[in-house]
Amino acid sequence: MATETAVTVRQILSEPGAPVIVFDRVQLGFDEKPVLEDMSFTVLKGHTKIILGASGSGKSTALKIIVGLLRADAGVVWVNGQRVDQLSEDQLMAVRGDLGMIFQEGALFDSLTVRENVGYKLYEETDLPIPQIDRRVVEVLGFIGLTEHMNKMPSELSGGQRRRVAIARAMAFRPSIMLYDEATTGLDPITANTVNDEMIKLRDLNGVSSVIVTHQLRDAFYVATHMAVRDSSGDVRIVPATPGKEREAEFIMLQNGLIIFEGDADALRASTDPYIREFLS
């Protein structure tokens, strides 16, 4: 019975547009202060969910609940067909095998080189042969254009390079879902765009589903309205998204732990809600 259920779940999740993350009436509070209140949303396979909101509105908390770093007080959270709100820390490890998370400031391991950071999970948590892992690390660093920094320590990198290495670390084990927590905050617009481009490339070239938490409107709209294409010569270009592709990116606006808006970029721009207008201005 359990095997049949697992097979059915796998079949459903393999279909395009399958729900890979489901938040159902999730609540969380710290010290009796509510942080998330009845939060519900769904992330579909290959789509992007962009969570906007002011500092302290509960955006990062939602990401930490998805990856199981925090446990919701109430509600149901499904990730890849598993109820993560009911799993033990050991059981969560399996779910995390398909989740890549980029933390604010990167959270790279200070004592490891860029190569060791990027290949961390593969070196430490798998039995893959070292040459195979090394090849994957080079491939991933090539994808984000940082191969020449492979043997540097994180302290020798710029802020933008650290974020990109964090993306490389999260994508090295080929997760199908990426969670970005303020990946571009504190970066200048040009560097932020290089990080945005990596998010777009991962989504469009590798079919990765994304949840992006940010309060940088410019970056949020850029990711939602652009797409990556590979031309006949094999080069990757970032171009304005087609209307259909644009609709695959949905926005959520949080205010004090409550969802006050959910819709695509056009609907967000057209919103007449005073808080959203103020946030967008």
């Binding site: 770093l69 995390r96 989740l99 933390f103 400031e105 959270a107 790279l108 200070d110 948590e125």
Partner: protein
């Protein structure tokens, strides 16, 4: 009243979290994955890295002890038994406690600062998100290293301390070398050796688990890291003295 209640709750929570961490570390010692590379690295950092400070402390303590004891023993005409006093004090009490206190200062503070920094920079969360259990990866290697290296360091500290006592006895108190060393060995009972060996196992374990607990509970940015480091040293030092007392009582009851 409310303040007292809050304080008691805080203490109860700390104890609960500490016990949970120790339990998780214990489980982690016997269940894979095992991070062998980290275990070897911690044995080197905690054991070899602390050698100089522990040996210097042991040497000067033994030397000072012989010097002070010489003055007291002279009052009874018992200067030739200075070796007995030095060895008994070093092996049963001063060796383990001073090595423990040195480990608190060097290792406990370092562990709390390192783990605390990892907490405030989200590196611990990153480890968990990458599928690594921080207890198995960070705590277990440190606890194993503390548990097994503290006795080794203590034995070396004891020996160097007794040697320091010999130097003072020979050249300051003018006690013949043969008399000093025979006095050292003659006065030692097997129970004393057990006491000197059991204590550092307990102290090493206590020092490292407290430091790991304090480090992993860090909050409040870089200021919090500073607070955790201080807390690890203060709590670790008090715990060393207290654990020494209780272990002494237990061993006296069981072995003597």
């Amino acid at each position: 009243m409310a303040l007292l209640e809050r304080w008691l709750k805080h203490i109860a929570l700390e104890v609960q979290e500490y016990v949970q961490l120790v339990h998780a570390a214990f489980i982690g010692m016997f269940r894979p994955p095992f991070y062998t590379h980290d275990i070897v690295e911690q044995f080197d950092l905690i054991g070899v890295g602390s050698l100089t400070v522990v040996l210097l402390t042991g040497f000067f303590t033994g030397a000072a002890l012989a010097s002070q004891s010489g003055l007291t023993l002279d009052q009874f005409g018992a200067r030739p038994v200075v070796g007995r006093l030095v060895s008994a004090s070093m092996i049963k009490e001063l060796g383990p406690v001073l090595a423990g206190l040195m480990l608190v200062g060097r290792v406990g503070s370092g562990i709390a600062a390192e783990l605390g920094s990892m907490v405030v920079t989200d590196q611990i969360n990153a480890l968990r998100a990458l599928g690594t259990d921080p207890v198995r990866k960070l705590v277990v290697p440190r606890v194993l290293a503390g548990f097994f290296m503290a006795p080794v360091l203590t034995i070396m500290s004891d020996f160097v301390g007794i040697t320091g006592g010999w130097l003072v006895s020979r050249f300051q108190l003018e006690v013949p070398t043969g008399l000093y060393w025979s006095s050292v060995t003659r006065s030692l009972y097997v129970q004393d050796v057990y006491m000197g060996l059991i204590k550092p196992f307990v102290l090493g374990f206590v020092i490292v688990t407290i430091a790991c607990h304090v480090g992993l509970r860090t909050s409040g940015g870089t200021q919090g890291v500073g607070r955790s480091t201080t807390m690890a040293v203060v709590a670790g030092s008090v715990a060393v003295i207290a654990a020494d007392f209780f272990v002494t009582q237990l061993i006296i009851k069981l072995l003597y």
